[in-house]
Symmetry: C2
């Protein structure tokens, strides 16, 4: 990537409210996280060479991030703190740079990450709370937390998640490992929270797993239905997908911050 | 209001996310709380006589409500529970009917209320959190909670609030009574919360008081500056107005629920 000009590689951590973005990835005529970030960076660089950013992965329209990771090569030597401030002064308020560091050229947000943590927040009640409509998935039926806790034991481990991948996925290998899976009641916000940490997730996997777990919590499926779903490898067996609004990419893990993997919340 | 048809008066409690409303009151070509509620009601009534709603008071564009109160006369005898469900099925997701009851014809949301409770939420930090930009006022400078606590003692009582009324107010009597005024740190959400309960509030009064309290908290004004401001009766002495996004109309009080006035989170 280095040409006549010396460039420096930056790693940034982004938080964004996904509501008004058409997802992460750049698309023509759409407001995406990538496009607003690249717009800000290219204004800052004032060079002809277009700066392209690389995210740890895409997030869909309406999906939020608390800790998305992005890298890019920048043609000026700006200290990390200055880059953070400069970007935040140019970015819209629904996307914030939380952290910035200068990294070596072998760092790659997508290829060198070896895990991600997602959170899914569910609100309950007969009607949708106006303040939660964009920030949770709403499930109005009864949920038995203990049934979902038992099912989460099956979610953990190395499995073929073919029953939990949406059409449109470009990968054929659907084997992934989930290191940690937990569900708990967030008393302060009166929500059910699912949390998953794994080495990688398939397209819509978390949202399909959550929809299936809610069916288990409501008694519409047997508690250990995940074990059967791993065998049948058939998306038609889990048709529901929980809404984008409840999903948050919480953290992306790289070799240098391995120790953080065991930390949550 | 009763003509040939018998009507029944309903009192409803509304929660709304003010972000996408041009305030409470109906305005031509604008999406307001009143217009979406009247649209739903008039579709339900299927009569030619237009049903007009009456709120406890207006809220500005971007201001939220947890417990706005509205009354209206409806030309059919629908049980309160049916009215609540019917309205919620027709209203957009950013406005929810939280409660509904049938009341006597002498109930009036605006004229018979004798107090309101407002909450103002403030987020801190150098940059605005993307998830708080629409739901708090942001103040990046340091705040000394104890200074604001001391100032809140002066906020309580019966005073002439002329220094705290925005241009555009239609009332000439600026004397109001604030029964309760408190400020505290909400640890769970990492916010500073102001709460005011009084017999009535002037146009933008809460937002101007909060802006002034933040200046006191930051040391830009003396702690007891409110005492001076009550004397000078001059809006130019408190020029700042805290943003609409942090303000919530939390509760409106009527004679029958007087006992609730002393209850607060």
């Amino acid at each position: 990537m280095k040409g006549v000009f010396m460039t420096q590689r930056y790693k940034i951590v982004l938080a964004y409210d996904g509501t008004n973005f058409a997802g992460f990835q750049r698309q023509p005529q759409q407001r995406t996280v990538q496009s607003v970030l690249e717009n800000a960076l290219n204004k800052m660089s004032k060079k002809d060479d277009y700066i392209t950013i690389h995210g740890s992965g895409r997030t869909d329209s309406g999906v939020h991030a608390l800790g998305q990771v992005v890298h890019f090569d920048f043609p000026h030597h700006i200290p990390a703190e200055g880059m953070l401030r400069g970007l935040n002064s140019m970015m819209p308020l629904d996307c914030e740079v939380k952290a910035c560091e200068i990294v070596s050229d072998d760092f790659h947000a997508r290829f060198t990450n070896h895990g991600k943590r997602y959170v899914y927040r569910v609100s309950q009640g007969e009607f949708v709370d106006p303040f939660k409509r964009l920030y949770t998935g709403h499930y109005k039926y009864k949920l038995d937390l203990s049934r979902m806790e038992a099912a989460m034991e099956d979610v953990m481990g190395t499995h073929d998640y073919s029953s939990f991948v949406a059409a449109g996925s470009q990968t054929t290998n659907h084997v992934r490992t989930i290191y940690e899976a937990k569900v708990y009641r967030d008393q302060a916000n009166d929500e059910i929270v699912f949390e998953f940490c794994g080495n990688g997730f398939l397209y819509n996997q978390v949202r399909i797993m959550v929809a299936t777990l809610l069916e288990i919590g409501n008694g519409r499926r047997p508690i250990h239905d995940f074990l059967r779903l791993y065998e049948v490898k058939d998306r038609n067996e889990c048709r529901e997908t929980a809404p984008a609004s409840g999903l948050y990419l919480k953290e992306v893990y790289y070799p240098e911050n391995d120790e953080k993997k065991s930390i949550s919340n």
